[in-house]
């Protein structure tokens, strides 16, 4: 099987101010797994949206099995045998699994037949699913299964997966790969989008690398090292953060028997969480998204106050205090969602700096804001963390993801925290900026601060943490030193394969 399934020639798409895709050409062959590799903002999403008919190219054309292919809408793409699993799942929380699947099909059969076909497909491919369950209550891995089964029911010829493993445990990733290899063996081509290089080297036959909207190369990933791929992606070499040996001090933050109901619908309640962090230590907390990470950050930052004794800072119970009182005492935090939670999108960087630094940096005097000092502080963050922006008067929204992330992390780091809690500090950030952020966290720890890094990126956690724990269903696993921890052990700490092992992969 060496024929070309999808040919892409000279695709160009420009948005105001940015060329998302510039003359991109490559071929996807029949029955191969083709990787699309690139940093955030390299134009991967725009490219697949054009293949899936969500966006029309400005110029260039595509061919599917030699025929001209120009889908006007996703419906047309699906009719031609192109199916897609989205990065941010396109599911409807309040609807059942069967209803969600019916919505993604052109001519869905009657509910009862559909339920049977869902069971058939999910058994054939080892993806157990109950058609009657409400999607809102499913884990991230199960949600992804819903999307995959939805695509498989249409017997696609080209199966597009956008960052499919970012929400899975290592065991779930392995099972997903088995499913994909089985599909490939049946002759389905897969376009696999990711920035996880080891995965691509393990799974993909060919890889096309995009940088700033342009194709850099098409190569065979198993013949390249991860380092070479990364440098093609970034276009330059970069420093990996270095962990300096350091002395651990006393216990600064102690969490004991922390239980809190989640304030969000379909949220995860925290159940009896206990741990300690010492001065100079980095504690990494992993876990699949939606297992209590947001709630834990809120409980530590003070957004979600609880019992006084549940959180102790340097011997003082702070569990009942709000965020300001905790900040005064040296417990700072940076939440995951940078637009809307860590930063107010439409306010300037100076205003955003004011919001968390007003007390520790003395930016408020007698109830009045000291704009001069606030601006100086914002400028300091911009300079020290190499935030690319014309100046502190720009709105947070105008910054790219990586730059804004550097700003919101830098804002906390420069307030000299004694304990810093961050959730997904490098999510959606390019490799160079991610390395800079990790280095800043390590430097802070070397200076004697205690740091808690909550992340779904296991490589990141292994790189920065001294000890590792995982959240699973709102509970904390045992916390172990990172040295000598195997991927298998980590996977089990994260909750293993979430009932996937009961599935029988037929054939």
């Amino acid at each position: 099987m060496t024929g070309t399934l999808l040919g892409i020639e000279g695709l160009t798409k420009a948005y105001p101010g940015v060329v998302a895709n510039d003359d991109v050409s490559f071929d996807i062959r029949e029955g191969e797994v083709h990787a699309l590799l690139g940093e955030n903002g390299a134009g991967k999403s725009t490219l697949v949206k054009m293949i899936y008919g969500l966006v029309k190219p400005d110029s260039g054309h595509m061919t599917l099995r030699g025929e001209p292919y120009a889908p006007a809408e996703p419906r047309a793409a699906r009719a031609s045998g192109v199916a897609m699993v989205f990065q941010h799942f396109s599911l409807f929380d309040a609807l059942s699994v069967a209803e969600n699947i019916a919505l993604g099909m052109e001519n869905p059969p009657k509910q009862r037949d559909l339920a049977r076909r869902i069971r058939d497909v999910s058994e054939t491919y080892g993806l157990p699913l109950d058609p009657a369950r409400t999607v809102g209550g499913l884990s991230a891995g199960e949600r992804q299964r819903v999307e995959i089964v939805r695509c498989l029911l249409q017997e696609p010829r080209l199966f597009i997966m956008d960052e499919p493993t970012s929400v899975l445990t290592p065991q779930e990733v392995e099972i997903l790969f088995q499913t994909l290899r089985k599909l490939k063996a049946e002759g389905t081509s897969i376009l696999y989008i990711s920035h996880k290089l080891e995965e691509i080297r393990a799974l993909c036959d060919h890889a096309t690398i995009l940088r700033l909207g342009k194709k850099v190369a098409t190569c065979t990933p198993s013949e390249k090292s991860a380092r070479e791929l990364a440098e093609m992606m970034v276009g330059a070499s970069f420093e990996t953060p270095a962990k300096a040996p350091r002395e651990l001090g006393d216990v600064v933050l102690k969490v004991e028997g922390l239980s809190l109901p989640s304030p969000m619908e379909f949220g995860t309640s925290l159940k009896d969480i206990s741990f300690e962090v010492r001065a100079g230590e980095v504690l990494g907390l992993g876990g699949v998204a939606g297992n209590g990470q947001d709630e834990l950050l809120a409980a530590l930052s003070g957004e979600l106050p609880g019992a006084a004794g549940a959180v102790t800072l340097k011997g003082e119970p702070v569990g009942e205090m709000g965020p300001d009182a905790r900040r005064m005492r040296g417990l700072l935090s940076g939440p995951e969602e940078r637009l809307g939670h860590a930063a107010a999108p439409d306010m300037s960087l100076t205003e955003n700096a004011l919001m968390t630094a007003k007390m520790r940096e003395g930016l408020v005097r007698g109830g009045f804001l000291d704009w001069g000092k606030a601006r100086t502080f914002a400028e300091k963050v911009i300079e020290r963390f190499d935030v690319r922006t014309p100046g502190p008067e720009n709105a947070a929204r105008s910054l790219s993801g990586g730059n804004l992330q550097k700003f919101v992390i830098g804002r906390e780091v420069l307030q000299r925290p004694e304990v810093l809690v961050v959730n997904q500090p490098t999510w959606g950030v390019d490799a160079a900026a991610a390395a800079a952020i990790r280095q800043a966290l390590l430097d802070l720890a070397a200076g004697g601060a205690a740091i808690i890094v909550i992340s779904q990126d296991l490589d990141e956690l292994m790189e920065v943490s001294d000890r590792f724990g995982a959240l699973n269903g709102g509970r904390m696993s045992e916390i172990r030193p990172v040295d000598g921890l195997s991927v298998d052990q980590i996977g089990l700490m994260m909750g293993g394969a979430h009932d996937m092992e009961v599935a029988h992969v037929a054939g």
């Binding site: 996703p74 699906r78 396109s90 409807f92 929380d93 309040a94 609807l95 919505l103």
Partner: protein
């Protein structure tokens, strides 16, 4: 006070008539909200329907034509809300409130020549046998066509939302418009249709007031019925049959307090008049205090394809 003056059969029978305008408006608004659009202009659409329905009814001599005219006029009015909120992305709350004000003013203007006139009204349907059953007959089977139509509409909305593809797509759009768009559904088109359906239903409800319930045109005659319809949708957790229960509860208390007034209950009239609103709000608060709600997740959020 003479409670024996209250005839329970007539009371229950008039409950259905009294509840029909609110039921019609509420079921329409429920469909709109299921598609993710919060249209606070129900009051304005109702009163526009009331005046246009009355005018068409008087001029044509046919109350049924009046209902058709009312539905069209209110659907047109709601379309202006739809264009503003869906294409120009205006704020739904502010635009809805504006729609109410426009409707109230516009209806007063159109209605000036029609004050003090009596309109032709719908006759009650007499079903042989059924209508003659004692007690149940007068309660259930001696009403005009619109009462039955409103109940049929609730059943139809329930069945369409639950069992058909178009209903599923509508709910999907209201639940997560970005996901619906990613799957290739026309979010804006579906929402516009839902808005117009809501408008037409509100218009029918208004026309029922001016053509059957009263039947006369007076300025401001909806007297907050549109707001109650909005509240009932929430209190019914966006479920069609609960909308029916809510509307009949409000209608029931309205009729009961009128009867109590007539019977000379020693409570100031003002308290009795406010009781339907108070009781409906009270029930609403109790229900929502239980923490149960099924609001469509995209309700009231503007959708733009680029984001």
């Amino acid at each position: 006070m003479d409670l024996s003056a209250i005839n329970p059969i007539l009371l229950i029978a008039s409950l259905m008539v009294s509840a029909t305008p609110i039921l019609l408006a509420a079921i329409g608004e429920m469909v709109t909200e299921k598609a993710g659009v919060l249209n606070l202009g129900v009051e304005g659409m109702m009163i526009t329907g009331a005046v246009v329905g009355f005018a068409v009814g008087v001029n044509s001599g046919s109350p049924l034509l009046g209902f058709v005219g009312a539905a069209l006029a209110s659907a047109l009015l709601s379309l202006s809300f739809g264009l503003l909120t869906q294409y120009l992305l205006s704020n739904q709350v502010a635009t809805g409130l504006g729609l109410t004000l426009v409707g109230l003013g516009l209806s007063a203007l159109i209605g000036k020549p029609y004050e003090g006139i009596k309109s032709p009204t719908l006759g009650d349907i007499h079903l042989p046998l059924l209508s003659d059953i004692p007690v149940i007959g007068p309660i259930l089977f001696q009403h005009d066509i619109m009462v039955y139509l409103s109940i049929a509409l609730v059943a139809a909305v329930w069945a369409v939302l639950k069992y058909t593809r178009i209903g599923l797509v509508l709910r999907a759009v209201g639940e997560n418009h970005d996901a619906a768009h990613a799957l290739g559904y026309k979010v804006i088109r579906i929402r516009l249709l839902a808005i117009m359906f809501g408008g037409a239903c509100a218009g029918l409800g208004g026309a029922y007031l001016s053509l059957v319930r009263v039947p006369q045109w007076t300025e401001g005659m909806t007297a907050g019925a549109g707001w109650i319809a909005l509240a009932i949708v929430v209190f019914a957790s966006w479920k069609p049959w609960r909308v029916l229960v809510g509307a009949y509860l409000f209608g029931g208390v309205t009729v009961l307090q009128l009867n109590l007034q007539a019977a000379g209950l020693k409570v100031p009239v003002e308290y009795l008049s406010m009781s339907p609103y108070l009781i409906t709000i009270l029930v609403l608060v109790i229900i929502s205090a239980r923490g149960f709600h099924g609001a469509p997740a995209s309700l009231g959020r503007s959708f733009h394809a680029s984001s």
